[in-house]
Amino acid sequence: MIKVSDLKKDFPIFDREINGNRLTYLDSGATSQKPNLVINEMSNVYTNINANVHRGTYVLSSETTAKYEDVRNKFKEFINAYSSDEIIFTKGCTEGFNFLANSICKDLSPGDEIILSEIEHHANIIPWQMAADKYNLKIKYINITESFDLDIDHFESLLNSKTKVVSIVGESNMSGMLPDIKKLNSLIKEKTDAIYIVDGAQLVPHRKIDVQDLGIDFICVSGHKMLGPTGIGVVWGRKKLLEKLDPVYGGGDMIEEVFYESATWAPIPHKFEAGTPPYVEAIGLGAAVDYLTKLDMKNVEKHSDELRIYAKNKLESIDGLNVVHTSSDIAGCTFAMSVEGVHATDVSLMLDTFGVAVRAGHHCVQPFHRKLNLDATFRATGYIYNDEEDFDILSNAIKESIKLLT
């Protein structure tokens, strides 16, 4: 079980006061706060062992390389990948999708189809749009129901022999929706030979993931949303698929042999990691994985579920507050909200005066906001260091803000 009051002591940022109030941080959907374990580990690399990885034949480089490569093992265990070679380091989820879209779509034929959903983050839309333009591919969007869930019947109707890629969010950063990944995977594998990619940006920080059990082909992960530093993420993919894909970036460290006319690629994972990688950030991510593993992802999941139910009841009882949240029993602790006649940025500025940090805007889900006729929403997301008191404070601050703004 997670005891938030004890756990918070691991996160030095919670010593801060904001506008004379305790910090109520409810924007982990944008980025998570960092525990001392991560901060100290990165500081340790720069202080004691820093040297470029894979290149040096001296003690420092060998120590840094060992630590960096060990993060692949840690991540392999964390998501139960088949092999640590399947763990590709990226700058983050966005780079992950750009890499996959560019590399996969290059081998598709004009007219082939990519399926996304209406509630995808821009990072899982734009790279596909760019690739579709370049290779004459077609993008189709799965409808989202009135209760903010995937319309499975509509999804099934979109699957056909031309479907080559299905890329869907694993946990929505807007409605908290958690699609049934195993069910989607069986439908895809039954009806098509398409690759199934999961956007794990919000999913992996909050739930125990077992890629073998899920049966998926790829997952993109963002490091900074799961207690790690910015500038690091992971793409996990099946070994056979990764071996077939061409790299998107060329440069040092990703080659086997280079001639003036051509070059051959290093084996996976290194063929996808051109240049000096963000190894300090990767090692920081390794410490984040250690932290979460020690907490046990089953506990993280339980905490998220309990907090979500509390928060949902609390927020839905506020007069005049429209809460965009899935009606499913299982969902992420994410609530996009709006108040009729009040702009979301006004609410978030007011909430800040109570020490409450939420995000206002379209959260990189602009097409779905448009569909709901909303310019913007403000969004609260809970994580391991949030408890019921945070949502009590949020709820009171929302009520006060509505009074001040109407």
Binding site: N19, V342, H343, D346, M350, L404
Partner: protein
Amino acid sequence: MSIQEKVDDYKKMLALFPNAQEKYQYLIEQAKNSEDFPEELRIDEFKVNGCQSQVWLVPEEKDDKLFFKSDSDALIAKGLVTLIASIYSNEAPGDIANSNIDLMEEFDLGVILSPARRNGAFSMLKTIKEVSQKLAD
């Protein structure tokens, strides 16, 4: 009153409010008391880019002086743009173009006027400076 004098007046006024919440309430009052904005001016041509909410700034030249009409769909931003419009209205384009754009950073308006060059207030000021510069040239 010169731009500098108007800025000094607002600075004194805002200093009376001890915290961010009361300063925002003052801006909300400014928004609520502002002149009605003609519906036909709510068009893309007058929209200020780079704001989180929609903000419109419409320059008008009268007797060699510039005047600004303004609006926003968010209250705090509307208060801020009302205040900015009143500072720069009834001034000669050359005086606006030569004024120091950093003046308002002295307002201590917390996150809405932080020195970050990507915030909405900076976009509003930049729009006013650009319009004035064109007319002054």
